[in-house]
Symmetry: C2
Subunit: 342 residues, 2 copies
């Protein structure tokens, strides 16, 4: 089968790989019908994360059809159309039961499996996969694929930030996750949604998802602007969707005392100064999103066409052209790239 | 009048000071009937915080009787026995209304006033002070004084950590705030309360307040021990009541994914590594405790003799001997020192 391997920063290739096989009785093998490139895939692409010798199988988002299941899989059957989280989880342990499936005691990061491929092994299939009502209509494929990570992550950020009715929500980061954080905040009933963005196309997408205000300033000026828009107090809720020192500082400083920061950008070289955090009096919560918690609800919203998160995909390429997809995202020519497998 | 001034690290004196006067129409002047030394007063005492030339008036905890009020004070009258938070607040602004009176838009830190004195000016008297049902019985004085900061702070930490029924709570720090965090967790219904302490006297006090387990190990061993006591997962709720890098790391590492860390130790030279915080998946909330939020409830519990937070005071000295009180706390001969003013 064909799949994507990153050999070095900037060096992504679609290659012939071994077909995956059932290794554990709780595994399933799926035929991947759609996959995509994540903003977090750009960290190693840009040299900000090490790659092991021999390269790294890429991809952790997936929509597919079940080909075969292990002996202990009971809830998922061959032929099911499925979507799952970027973290495999048993969905039964105490941590899963508390809603933190991304930190399941048996968690497997799907990035270690690699779903930018024609087929993928899904560990803990019963806990990880959610069956769709049927074969997805073609126009819903991008949105259902988005549920696998980028929508679920934006959604978690909005929930972690406690976005809701009457709240002013600030969004730091206009990548796909930040944009879907806007969509989530809107769905959760936020009164005002302020997106920080300097790109006209992303601003337009943010507005289509429900943003009420755009702030182009950054740093201290950006914080001041958000305070101006929120009675001088700062946002009630802030979604951080970048993962840098600047974005974390911006998020904390833009939030009022007692407010909530939901941070989902994978932290790279970030150190939070204790005294500033102390006197900020914000709530801080984030990490790898427990997408599995939200999947059933998100699938329903998509199936009923009440949300259109798939709009974040602005470039679709065949798997064979994955390298161009990485380039397009790296150069910010594309917000998010969908890879087709057939 | 007499009051306490810190002139240099280790140099605390009780001196003759000017009588405070009404400066703003929202002020009250109280005769301080009891005050005390806070763990945070030890930071400058140990040279970890700068002192301005001429020295610093000390103290921010107080129980007293109202002597006079400004023209705009309507809720508090001369003769009222009162207790107030270590942060003066209007208790009406949007931040106060949300329960964050310690970050009121008009906040005044009482440490800038100095309540280790015979009299004190209380800004924003209507918002800051809570009148007691009457003259407090002598045996309730220590507990009511504790409500001013140390109890309210421990209580906030427990609330921020979401201590409650069925929860396993870890407490990092066996100073007065940590000990009263134990008391608060117990009152909030926690199933298990694990205090980290190496001092037999503090362990005993912690047990009297409701601790079910004591962990003497620190660092990685301490974290391992807490995990052993919590099904390998870590505490649901952790109270951090120290403010150092070690204590913050310990608190975050001792908490299960999805759990809550309430941190109230004033941060000194702390930097939280972003990636570790991200993958910890904990909720982090803390800062200067909004004691005013909890005061009415805490006063009721004390007045009905349902809690005895005053037990943290293990040394009582006259205001004239404040210097000895600082020494005793610095040398850990005393958990907390009450200063009498008459």
């Amino acid at each position: 089968m064909r799949g994507v391997v990153m050999h070095a920063p900037g060096d992504v290739r679609t290659e012939e790989l071994e077909m995956p096989a059932i290794l554990e009785p709780t595994d399933a093998i799926i035929r991947v019908t759609a996959t995509c490139i994540c903003g977090s895939d750009l960290w190693p692409y840009r040299g900000a994360e090490p790659l092991r010798p021999g390269g790294r199988r890429m991809g952790h988002e997936y929509l597919g059809v079940v080909e075969s299941v292990g002996a202990e899989v009971t809830g998922i059957r061959p032929g099911d159309h499925v979507v799952g989280s970027f973290v495999a989880s048993d969905n039964t342990c105490e941590i899963c039961a508390a809603g933190y499936q991304s930190r399941c005691v048996h968690q497997v990061m799907m990035g270690s499996v690699g779903t930018q491929a024609q087929y993928a092994r899904i560990p803990l299939a019963d806990g990880t996969l959610v069956a769709l009502p049927g074969k997805p209509p073609a126009d819903l494929v991008p949105s259902l694929l988005a549920a696998s990570d980028v929508l679920g992550t934006g959604w978690f950020a909005a929930v972690a930030a406690e976005a809701g009715p009457g709240k002013a929500v600030a969004v730091v980061g206009d990548g796909a996750v930040g944009l879907l954080g806007v969509l989530a905040a809107r769905q959760l009933g936020a009164a005002r949604i302020i997106v920080m963005s300097r790109h006209a196309d992303r601003q337009a997408l943010a507005r289509s998802f429900g943003a009420t205000d755009v702030v182009e300033e950054r740093g201290a000026e950006g914080v001041d602007r958000i305070k101006e828009l929120t009675d001088g107090l700062g946002a009630h809720c802030t979604i951080e969707a970048v993962g840098t020192q600047e974005s974390m500082d911006q998020a904390i400083r833009a939030t009022r005392p007692g407010g909530h920061v939901g941070f989902v950008g994978v932290s790279h070289d970030v150190a939070l100064e204790g005294r500033e955090l102390f006197f900020s009096s914000v709530h801080l919560h984030g990490g790898p999103a427990p997408v599995r918690r939200f999947l059933p609800e998100l699938i329903d919203l998509i199936w009923e066409r009440r949300i259109d998160p798939g709009a974040v995909f602005d470039l679709t390429l065949p798997l064979e052209e994955a390298a161009e997809g990485y380039r397009a995202m790296d150069e910010r020519r594309a917000v998010k790239v969908l890879l087709t497998t057939d």
